[in-house]
Amino acid sequence: MKFLHDLWRSQSEFVRTFGAMTLFFFQLLRYSPSTLVRRFSLVVAQIFNAGALSIVIIMVSGLFVGGVLGLQAFANLERFNAEEATGILAGFALVKEIGPVITALLFAGRAGTALTSEIGLMKATDQLSAMEMMAVNPMQRVFVPRFLGGIIAMPLLTAVFTMVGLLGAHLVAVELLDVDVGAYWQQLQQAMELDDVYEGITKSIVFGFVASLIAVWEGYNSVPTPEGVGRATTRTVVSTAIAVLILDFMITAYLL
């Protein structure tokens, strides 16, 4: 009986949180157009915060992920005398899967946590209440610019990650392992369709929405104490990682 009661409690809690989050999401959407028009400078500042400040970690990770893909692809394809196809393997993996997914995970770790803790601290130090008391809607001043900044930054970061990754794979395969450079790029170019690129772009846009929403929501919903903010920051990373990986599977299955 207690078990059923607990189950019911946790389920209704989940539904309540999910409902509140959905309402929050609609609020964000509702204020997005006006914020874009009237407070564009705030959005730009947040694109800088979420995007430009993440670029180092994105590029370094991209270079090494691309390199390791090149290594693995080469090692396995060599057995079939197909090492020219290294480019295809590494390229497809990067453009369609690894690029969007790892970028989203890195984004959650670098930009998502920053967003959550910043908003959580603003809440804990009454800055959000102060704004409301000054008749300024925190939605327009705080939440929506950060949300939009994340959405815009994510596809751009994904593009950077994928390009640097391709460069890393090229360096390993062509410069290090002596795959013929012409064959390497020509095979990749022939095999890859525009649809494959679209799939990567679609994913990065969806991940941008999800990662930004979770980061901003967790900050908004955090318990306004030091430990509450810390816990919210952790939740941002965990929830984003799970959501991104599940969505990645669903989008891939749908587009196949």
């Binding site: 601290l121 603003m122 130090t125 009454d126 800055q127 209440s129 102060a130 704004m131 409301e132 008391m133 000054m134 008749a135 300024v136």
Partner: protein
């Protein structure tokens, strides 16, 4: 409870009796379950979002820790309400902000960031921000907490001076008796969510009710018990089974 126009009214009471809740109700950051809050005869609870925001432009609020926006400089913090609600030009904004900062003695700190301020300075900046829109009502949430005696004296004098020169109605929540006595025209004592006594600070000191006496004279035991609710002492010590 009635708050008079142009007067400084203080709300006192032990921790957890609903002082801050009352402030948040007045500013409608919280919705009342029962009862009404009238400002100039208008029920706050019935206001629409735009009506509420119009009301809040007439209310300045000083938060306990200042609640300055950490990503903006002192100048920009004070300019924030002006930029949000007026179409004043840059020169006029500068003029107004510097005047208000001068009033709290921090004109020289305009370019500092909130993280570079001491607690007392942050609160004075927040005060400058609260009066920048020339409000009719100024609400102070625990303005004396955690200040050294000098900063405390400064704040006390500022509250009095701002109230008298700008013709503001002030509401001060605090439990610092000495400071309250120095500034307020009228006081309410809250206990368990209700006002148990009111009057000038002097009158309250004379008040004979048990609750008021305990609070005004800082007695450790009384209606507000020293011991948190617990099972019988000897029983619990002898009872080894339960912790």
């Amino acid at each position: 409870m009635t708050f008079h126009r142009g007067a400084i009214t203080s709300i006192m009471g032990p921790s957890g009796t609903g002082k801050t809740t009352l402030l948040r109700l007045i500013a409608r950051q919280l919705h009342p379950d029962r009862g009404h809050i009238l400002i100039d005869g208008v029920d706050v609870a019935g206001l629409s979002q735009s009506g509420l925001y119009a009301l809040r432009k007439r209310i300045g609020m000083l938060f306990q820790n200042g609640a300055l926006l950490t990503d903006l400089s002192v100048f920009e913090n004070v300019a924030f309400p002006l930029r949000a609600h007026t179409r004043l030009g840059e020169r006029l904004i500068r003029l107004v902000v510097l005047t208000k900062l001068h009033a709290v003695g921090l004109r020289g700190a305009a370019d500092l960031m909130p993280s570079e301020l001491s607690g007392g300075m942050a609160r004075r900046v927040a005060l400058a921000r609260a009066i920048v829109m020339d409000p009719d009502i100024l609400i102070y949430d625990e303005p004396f907490v955690g200040l050294d005696p000098i900063s405390m004296g400064v704040i006390v004098r500022l509250i009095r001076r701002l109230n008298d020169t700008l013709g503001i109605s002030s509401i001060v929540v605090s439990h610092d008796l000495k400071e309250i006595a120095a500034v307020s025209d009228q006081s309410f004592l809250l206990s368990d969510g209700a006002a148990v006594a009111s009057g000038s600070p002097e009158e309250l000191k004379q008040n004979d009710t048990e609750m008021v006496r305990q609070f005004m004279h800082g007695l450790p035991d009384g209606p507000v018990a020293f011991h948190y609710e617990a099972p019988d002492y000897s029983q619990q010590l002898l009872d080894q089974g339960t912790p």
